[in-house]
Symmetry: D2
Amino acid sequence: MRQRPASARTSPPSAALDAAGHPALLLVDGVSSIGSMDFRMDEWGVDVAVTGSQKGFMLPAGLAIVAFSPKALAATETATLRRCFFDVRDMGRSQAAGGFPYTPPVGLLNGLKLATGLLLAEGLDNVFARHRRIADGVRAAVAAWGLELCAERADIRSDTVSAIRTPVGFDATRIVTHAAQVYDVAFGVGLGDVAGKVFRIGHLGALTDVMALSGVAAAEMAMVDLGLDVRLGSGVAAAQEVYRRTAAADLRAAA
Amino acid sequence: MRQRPASARTSPPSAALDAAGHPALLLVDGVSSIGSMDFRMDEWGVDVAVTGSQKGFMLPAGLAIVAFSPKALAATETATLRRCFFDVRDMGRSQAAGGFPYTPPVGLLNGLKLATGLLLAEGLDNVFARHRRIADGVRAAVAAWGLELCAERADIRSDTVSAIRTPVGFDATRIVTHAAQVYDVAFGVGLGDVAGKVFRIGHLGALTDVMALSGVAAAEMAMVDLGLDVRLGSGVAAAQEVYRRTAAADLRAAA
Amino acid sequence: MRQRPASARTSPPSAALDAAGHPALLLVDGVSSIGSMDFRMDEWGVDVAVTGSQKGFMLPAGLAIVAFSPKALAATETATLRRCFFDVRDMGRSQAAGGFPYTPPVGLLNGLKLATGLLLAEGLDNVFARHRRIADGVRAAVAAWGLELCAERADIRSDTVSAIRTPVGFDATRIVTHAAQVYDVAFGVGLGDVAGKVFRIGHLGALTDVMALSGVAAAEMAMVDLGLDVRLGSGVAAAQEVYRRTAAADLRAAA
Amino acid sequence: MRQRPASARTSPPSAALDAAGHPALLLVDGVSSIGSMDFRMDEWGVDVAVTGSQKGFMLPAGLAIVAFSPKALAATETATLRRCFFDVRDMGRSQAAGGFPYTPPVGLLNGLKLATGLLLAEGLDNVFARHRRIADGVRAAVAAWGLELCAERADIRSDTVSAIRTPVGFDATRIVTHAAQVYDVAFGVGLGDVAGKVFRIGHLGALTDVMALSGVAAAEMAMVDLGLDVRLGSGVAAAQEVYRRTAAADLRAAA
């Protein structure tokens, strides 16, 4: 059995707030990470965390999953925004009585029970390690293409999605459009400051090595089709090397 | 709109029987081909054709789909094998009355209606061309690996499954076992005379270019893992070249 | 083909607002009615209508379906409530560009397309008449039990749910609890002013006569179990009489 | 916990064969009973038992489930009927090696695993008692209608289906046709000697009291529609009385 690694971070995300003595709540958008990467709400001092059903939990879109710290719950008592549907106090009162304040999406709740069962059966550390392995393969492909990630340092890389910078002057969104039209593969566009400068490959959830390779292969074809200086098979081979080396290690460890 | 190509065969499959004046029925096992490759029961003089729900029709296994020529139907009247469940005359009588002689698998029949609707909406010639394209990619990968198909001539190749010969002395079944265990990918073993000498990649049904590439990539990793002289990414690159060239042609044709 | 009946109302719901010269928006909670009973947003001067996927549209819970009149849309420009997720202007901008501002629940949207297709294929007037028939049967059962509806006048009755008053001193919620525990049937409790005074039988969506009868039968058993003065089979027989009379009329009309 | 009742039969079904010293195999068609009523293959000396996925196992049609005694297996070695697909020796050899001789219907096999898990979780004796209760209700309805079962003695009644005799001169099949057309409810026709003389109500599988009541109510309406001397609600009331009395007993036993 593997040991749960100590969190690699030297200081939790809330340290900056604490250091500044700032009363702000620490909110985490974990839509693309919770359930796929390590997340420690209490240990890291997180006040509100939100995720959805459609990524790490491998379900259709439909559930917003929100967690509050005691500090955040206290803040709902003094918050002045007028609200109704999103007043978590109604939700809390109903759940304390074993119910819901509104019609619950029973199917997705049953799905969530099943999905969390699958994650726990695999073991959270194994789930996180699997996403790390798959992400390492995609990152090896990016390097083989001679491209760079949007994340400039290794410690801020995501193991669930890779935003890839394309050469200056090339509209990265064309890759997304082309891959969808020609290869029926959905990549993500860059948003905000990096619109047109990056495209994103999502690699999380119920994903295997070879599924990730199919995404790498599609990106490769799209880039070649659009005239970028990328060699067919180069990124796939780099990712394959990562996958076959680490898969073999997994099997040895399990033996 | 594309024109339906004339059948490439110079003589129909029944020609040999006709030439010999032999009264045998011509039976076709179309499990892995009907719905994915051209098949002309009447034109080719086929007497009995059988397929299943689980390949070209993209459904779960469960339905055996059988067609009889008038000659085959007549033969059921004089056949001497004792039979009950498989007496097609019961089936014929019930269907003439709008029913079934036994409890019908309603779900699969509804699925078959939907599946045939999808095939007809795509257009049978487009469906056949898609399988040809995908098979061409897989065959390009096989050539890039320095391996050969079990089918020795181009005119007997299948567009839905490729049986690949491995080097003499190597047990091809190991590739199938390894890919299933390590990469969660199902290939087929060689059967009968070619057991241990070939492994099979199925490539039919609701399949896209990049799905086929994931199978090629998995085979590649498995072969490298097992010590065969194959370069990672080589087969994938060869298949990618086929797919991107022909996909572009498709788009130009559709424009 | 049947003719669409003219709306039975002598004045639209917005008449009172118009008569008073009041600038308020007319909002309609159509969760339990839209798709099952006649609703005419423009003709009736409705500004905002909301419904869900889980009732008349026969889908799992998950979609809130909202429609705005031009007057309501204009009001969103001057509204002062701070909002983000529920700012329909974002939704409008994205939909104008063929997209969504947030991850859409694709499965439910596909289901809505299918469900609305079913409703249109049946014919909205036929759908409304079916709900009227089924409601008439439930109401006949209520009368046979010697009970009364919460709705005191026929013109404010709902064809999709019947709230039934129980004798003074009896806690109506016990029927709901008992039916769920003993007969695995879900009724609704009274809310607000009528809590404990009524229980509700929902009868909408993909419902047939005999499904409604099973609900009537369950209510009957629960009431007898709990000591109310109701005769087993009495409500069922009254509803059956409605159903068999109107079903026969339907068949004659269709002949 | 309830004790498993000793089998009520004074002699097993194979006793007659044994008494006669006859070498015939004892074959049981358990399609409508296995999984819903007590069945003891070894204890009763059964040689071949067959059932399907679509009744007691609550799945779509598609699986034939067959069990052989050692005596029946031995007979397959000497049987002279030419056979291929139905040669159970192929099935036995493949299953001994952990596989199947033909493509298995994986979805239904997974379903069977789930369904048998549900049956075992409920407890087989509870499952059998539930079917007995539901059947008792249907039989009470039949008596209330003044009709009789096809089964003339209580010890040969089925707890999963009731074949009901209609008055002499009345074509019982009309009830089946009418209920399907007008009430969208599927009853079964009489077969063979009792064609036109009986109609059948199936009451097995994932069925609750109120579902059974809906079938009773539909039969009642159909019979009244067709002029039979049956009072609306009479059968339902009789079945309700059985259900509410026995449901209450169940709750007391569980308390």
